[in-house]
């Protein structure tokens, strides 16, 4: 959470075109900030295994394709995890 917020906090003004998906939104942020892009995406452009993305509190791994579309007011949470119990 904090690490990603630190990368982006208050410095990106990024307009999301209507109908964009969560992935497109993340790619847009990655293009705007290289450090963020490297932290979130691996060299094959896949989301890194320790990076968790939630849309309105739900992990995107459980969203259908229609649910991946962004609408006004949606909240995207990004946090990393490299641990367990």
């Amino acid at each position: 959470m904090a690490e990603f917020r630190d990368m982006l906090g208050g410095k990106i003004n990024y307009e999301i075109p209507e109908g964009k998906t969560v992935q497109a939104f993340l790619h847009g942020l990655a293009q705007a900030d290289a450090a963020f892009g490297k932290a979130v995406f691996d060299p094959e452009d896949q989301i890194r295994p320790h990076v968790n993305i939630l849309k309105n509190g739900k992990h995107i791994g459980f969203l259908g394709s229609s649910e991946m579309m962004l609408a006004d007011g949606d909240v995207i949470t990004i946090f990393s995890y490299a641990a367990g119990g």
């Binding site: 968790n52 641990a83 367990g84 119990g85």
Partner: protein, 616 residues
């Protein structure tokens, strides 16, 4: 002396003798505390003939120099004994409020041997200790017993108190610690060691302080570091240890169906984010911890209501949940609470229930054996009922609490093929096929399949620790250099178990090794550098190994279950790699300076200052 009281409480229950041993500063610098001091006592004072339930077996609970000094995540202690579950080195690290209570009572640790002639508890407070009658609470669950003990001693007290599983010396019995928070010294059956000694509880409270060499400097250092720790661990605070569970399932790290299945949609219902959105009612922290990964839950409706108690953490969700394909969060929470009450390790409990479910599926056990219970995958009813049977030692539940290895041996029919354990200890919820350092660590750790022995898989995922040469996350399937990563992390974990520092202080690089040494030096004024600190860790890893070698263990015991070495999982996005254990082990022994059979060499022991343990 700073950081320590130099006092070890020595108790012999056979003759009810209490003594205070004065500790030598040279020993404290060499072994640091916690795991280190426990190992020193275990190696020096038990022998080849000392069986786990012999009165001569010793149980130690030792804090570290940082405990009760305000250093973050150090409100913990390490317990050591010969394990009844594995017959080898037994150890468990636990947080909560016991460690700070005992250190503030004026002791660096406690070593208990002997066997009382009737149930007793030990009350430790402000420089004193008493052995008291525990007959009124013998047979009570840990929560009920702790409530009674607090009334008898102090409402501020913390009790390390066994439940019925420990009393009847069940192999997977842990030691619940109940004070300001409930925590369990779960692994390797140390609750059964207490039971064998007729020791129901060790209760502590203290009001004293620990002397610190540079108190103002330490306070300022901690204040400066604290915002970084809070930020780095923010995800843990919000979602607990299971916030990343969904990703772990996605990448093949989460255990499913007794380690047979590749993917499972059930994780949607049992992960930390779901818990946060449904039953979470509060967060709980061990003493001196800003992270507060502990969950408190409230369930007000459904089959398992009412519940208002500690919630399950990641490993428990993996073992009582994923391994048994249980996607009912309240049911897992109930099973977790019952394990705490009966005093059983949730990791081994989940592992052995999954094993029994597979035995049921294969017809090796039937409803006749389970008293009519349909022990099928995904049955929440079966899970909760089986935990009751295990806790009470009823029917097949009694055999199950000896662990999956002993149960498989009793069942025959090649059941050992699917008893997933190393040295008799069930693995935690991390798949060694996904991270080869995890495979190597499960195989080589003295206490058995334990992820905490190396805590290395995050360093194959995203993390680095440049001070000890881990400058880039390592490819999880890479063979070359895997032994280096595993050994370095094992040694770091060993010294952290002596210091004592929680594993989660590493989350998000919250605390690094430079911080460790700075803490130690500001407290003790020793001027220790990172090489000396890491060498202490290597010494302790070797001492654990030496204890196992003494009891007949060698390379033959450093195995992985066949399933991990032969079964490729299928499912979207999963790798089909399997760990090549022969090569990994040979590289590991060579790097360690051990023989090809996995025995530490005389040269290595001399190098580590362990000459007295060289076998003649």
């Amino acid at each position: 002396m700073y950081g320590y009281h130099k006092k070890m409480l020595r108790i012999d229950l056979s003759n009810r003798k209490i003594e205070i041993e004065t500790l030598d500063e040279r020993d404290l610098r060499k072994y640091i505390g916690g795991l280190g001091m426990g190992l020193k006592i275990l190696l020096e004072e038990t022998g080849v003939g000392t069986k786990p339930f012999d009165p001569d077996n010793i149980l130690t609970a030792v804090m570290g120099p940082c405990t009760a000094t305000g250093v973050p995540t150090t409100g913990r202690h390490h317990l050591v004994s010969r394990s009844p579950q594995t017959g080898l080195f037994g150890g468990a690290n636990v947080g909560g409020s016991w460690a700070v209570g005992c250190k503030q009572a004026g002791f660096d640790g406690i070593a208990v041997k002997g066997k009382a002639d009737a149930p007793v508890y030990i009350w430790i407070y402000n420089g004193k200790a008493e052995i008291r009658d525990a007959l009124p609470i013998w047979g009570k669950d840990s929560y009920e017993a702790a409530a009674w003990l607090k009334k008898e001693t102090s409402e501020k007290a913390t009790a390390a108190v066994i439940g019925p599983a420990g009393e009847r010396m069940a192999g997977i019995a842990g030691i619940p610690h109940i004070g300001s928070i409930v925590r369990m010294a779960a692994r390797t059956g140390l609750g059964a060691v207490m039971g064998s000694k007729n020791l129901k509880a060790m209760v502590v409270h203290g009001d004293g302080e620990v002397s610190i060499a540079k108190p103002a400097e330490l306070k300022e250092y901690i204040s400066a570091l604290m915002p970084h720790i809070r930020k780095s661990t923010e995800g843990f605070t919000k979602y607990g240890t299971s916030g990343g569970l969904v990703n772990y399932e996605k990448i093949g790290n989460f255990p499913l169906k007794n380690w047979r299945q590749g993917r499972w949609s059930g994780v949607e219902k049992i992960n930390g984010v779901t818990m946060h959105d449904t039953i979470l009612s509060g967060r709980k922290a061990c003493k001196s911890c800003p992270i507060a990964c502990g969950r408190h839950i409230k369930v007000t409706e459904g089959a398992y209501a009412p519940m208002d108690c500690e919630g399950p953490e990641y490993e428990t969700l993996g073992t009582l949940g994923g391994l048994c394909l249980i996607d009912d969060l309240p049911a897992i929470s109930k099973a977790n609470e019952l394990c705490n009450r009966y005093g059983m390790d949730t990791i081994s409990a989940g592992g052995v229930i999954a094993f029994a479910m597979e035995a049921f599926e294969k017809g090796i056990i039937t409803k006749k054996d389970t008293d009519g219970l349909e022990l099928v995958w995904g049955s929440a009813t079966a899970l909760v009922e089986m935990v009751h049977k295990m806790g009470k030692g009823e029917g097949i539940g009694k055999l199950m609490t000896e662990g999956s290895k002993k149960m498989a041996e009793a069942l025959g029919n090649n059941a050992i093929e699917f008893a997933i354990q190393v040295k008799g200890l069930e693995p935690s919820a991390h798949d060694p096929r996904r991270f080869f350092s995890q495979a190597l660590s499960y195989a080589t750790e003295a206490r058995g399949a334990c992820h905490n022995a190396s805590w290395s898989h995050p360093y194959e995922l995203a993390m680095t620790m440049p001070e000890i040469g881990i400058t880039e996350p390592q490819n999880p399937y890479q063979i070359e250099g895997k032994e280096v990563l595993t050994c370095k992390m094992q040694d770091l974990m060993s010294v952290m178990d002596a210091m004592i520092l929680c594993r989660f202080s590493q989350v998000g690089k919250a605390v690094n090794v430079t911080n460790h040494v700075d803490f130690l030096n500001m407290i003790t004024d020793w001027g220790m550098d990172i090489p000396e600190y890491m060498k202490a860790g290597e010494r302790l890893t070797n001492m654990k190994r030496l204890f196992n070698v003494r009891h007949g263990a060698s390379r033959k015991d450093d195995f992985l279950p066949y399933r991990f070495m032969t079964l490729k999982r299928t499912g979207e996005g999963l790798s089909n790699q399997l760990p090549p254990m022969g090569e990994l082990l040979s590289n590991y022994y060579a790097y360690r300076g051990w023989s090809e059979e996995g025995i530490p060499t005389a040269e290595k022991l001399k190098d580590l200052g362990l000459d007295e343990f060289i076998q003649k």
